[in-house]
């Protein structure tokens, strides 16, 4: 879990535009991301995001946490914990969208 060195982290920060990306992904991609969060993140955080081996991801539990740090947790994981990096499967803008949804109350899957 130490694949991401400080250098890589710094590089990522440099690449990140100063202004937060707020564009929503296209609807189809949105559905995929909702499914990914509910099902795949859900295997540790629970389908209802109330927590499991991983902590709950409900709005009230994320209140204190800056969106920026949540974004990097999603993208780069948290070394020393089972949280893996998801940056191979989503862009930074998509991670930002996921974080915004989590803070607001994550949408249900549409089947």
């Amino acid at each position: 879990m130490t694949r991401y060195s400080g250098c890589a982290l710094a590089a990522l920060f440099l690449l990140t535009p100063a202004v937060a990306l707020t564009a929503d992904p296209p609807p189809e991609r949105m559905r995929d991301l909702v499914r990914m969060v509910r099902q795949d993140c859900g295997s540790c955080h629970g389908l209802t995001l109330k927590g499991g081996l991983g902590p709950p991801l409900l709005p009230e539990t994320l209140l204190e946490k800056p969106a920026e740090s949540l974004r990097y947790t999603v993208l780069l994981g948290r070394p020393g914990t089972p949280m893996p990096p998801w940056n191979a499967f989503m862009t930074e803008a998509e991670a930002d969208w996921i974080v915004r949804q989590l803070i607001q109350g994550f949408p249900e899957e549409t089947r």
Partner: protein
């Protein structure tokens, strides 16, 4: 008059009995995680017999069976414990026993059902008949105020339950031979972040997989005074780990022909250990991060499924050749596999394709596909007679 009477009596009898008498040896349940239901299935007819609904949040649900094979105890994520009558296909009893639960076990004598909980961390033990709470054992550690998440609960001989404490790095063995007065033996400093556990089919060894370090912790339950020891230590040999997108699962099915087949953490490998010496005797490269590594009941094959993003495949290891001999694509997001009692077929759940696929394990031919709502765990009643299931 007499013949008419007997015809009437026969009619009356058949009207009253309703269902045909049958055993449960070839029945099972499939967890439908999205809809909070279980499908009751017949593995001989390869059919869904019906559904039982109202089981709550079944993400990461699992089931154990009463020893008569009639009742499935289903443990839901939301702390629900539901006793399902699979013959009558109805809920016999249901309680909410915790805030966040991960699974459970049934005791050697079949009288006790234990639930392992994340929140509040600990185990609770219930009367299998009534689901009355008999014992509550909090998983406290450190200063005694913190509670750890319980993982890897397994029934072991002597009406005991063995399990591991994720945050604490401990293995506990709770003796429930007097159910209301449990006696707990604690093994401390067993390793970093145990994530699941198994008991060998003979009930002798309890093994906890470690997430936080390379290796597994082993307790010889016949010689508990020797304490826990590390096996397969440093199997990663200092090589950078790959990310793990889903926690692997351990159960006694990993043992076949004097060897245990175990998922490596952060490596696309199955580790092979000699169960006499607990030394590594090989490692088999596979397609992704293994989640379930399950031996067919005869031990000739080991089937492996994988974590995201490789989870649409299943690979089969030939245990004589010690290599992968078959790769199948049963559907999107394969979450679980279950062998029929003697292993001629395997049932595989493909969550995102909303189906269960049934394969012949000799020819690898797909025999059937059954529709199910986001199926996850598949549990056949043959588990009722197996230790550690």
């Amino acid at each position: 008059m007499k013949p008419l009477f007997s015809i009437l009596a026969a009619l009356l009898l058949s009207a009253c009995s309703g269902a045909v008498l049958r055993g449960t040896g070839d029945l099972g349940v499939v967890i439908e995680r999205a809809s909070g239901s279980v499908a009751v299935v017949d593995s001989s007819a390869r059919r869904i017999l019906g559904r039982v609904e109202g089981l709550g949040d079944l993400s990461h649900a699992s089931a154990v069976y009463s020893r008569d094979g009639r009742y499935a105890y289903v443990f839901g994520r939301d702390g629900g414990l539901t006793k399902v009558d699979i013959l009558e296909r109805r809920i016999a009893r249901r309680i909410i026993q915790a805030g966040n639960s991960i699974g459970g076990a049934i005791s050697q004598d079949g009288r006790l059902v234990a639930a392992q909980n994340y929140q509040p961390g600990g185990i609770k033990v219930f009367d299998a008949e009534t689901l009355e709470l008999l014992a509550d054992i909090p998983a406290t550690f450190g200063d005694g105020q913190q509670r750890a998440k319980v993982v890897g609960l397994a029934d072991v001989p002597g009406n005991k339950f063995a399990y591991a404490l994720f945050e604490a790095g401990e293995i506990w063995v709770a003796d429930l031979s007097t159910p209301r007065e449990p006696k707990v033996t604690k093994f401390r400093n067993i390793g970093n972040q145990p994530y699941d556990g198994l008991v060998t089919p003979d009930g002798r060894y309890y093994i906890a997989g470690l997430f936080g370090e390379d290796g597994l912790a082993l307790v010889d339950l016949w010689k508990p005074e020797q304490g826990a020891r590390k096996i397969l230590a440093n199997y990663g040999k200092g090589v950078e780990k790959l990310p793990v997108f889903k926690m692997p699962h351990l159960r006694g099915w990993a043992v076949a022909g004097g060897r245990a087949y175990l998922p490596a953490i952060g490596r696309h490998e199955v580790l092979v250990v000699d169960t006499a010496t607990w030394q590594e005797v090989g490692r088999i490269p596979v397609k992704g991060q293994p989640v379930f590594v399950m031996a067919r009941p005869d031990g000739r094959q080991v089937w492996v499924n994988f974590a995201f993003p490789d989870y649409s495949h299943v690979q089969v290891i030939d245990t004589l050749e010690q290599k992968v001999v078959q790769t199948l694509s049963p559907g999107k997001a394969v979450l679980h596999m279950e062998f029929t009692p003697r292993g001629e077929n395997v049932w595989i759940s493909a969550r995102d394709d909303n189906r269960v696929a049934v394969y012949d394990t000799a020819s690898f031919v797909k025999l059937a596909e059954l529709p199910a709502q986001a199926p996850s765990g598949i549990f056949f009643t043959s588990r009722a007679a197996r230790m550690g299931f």
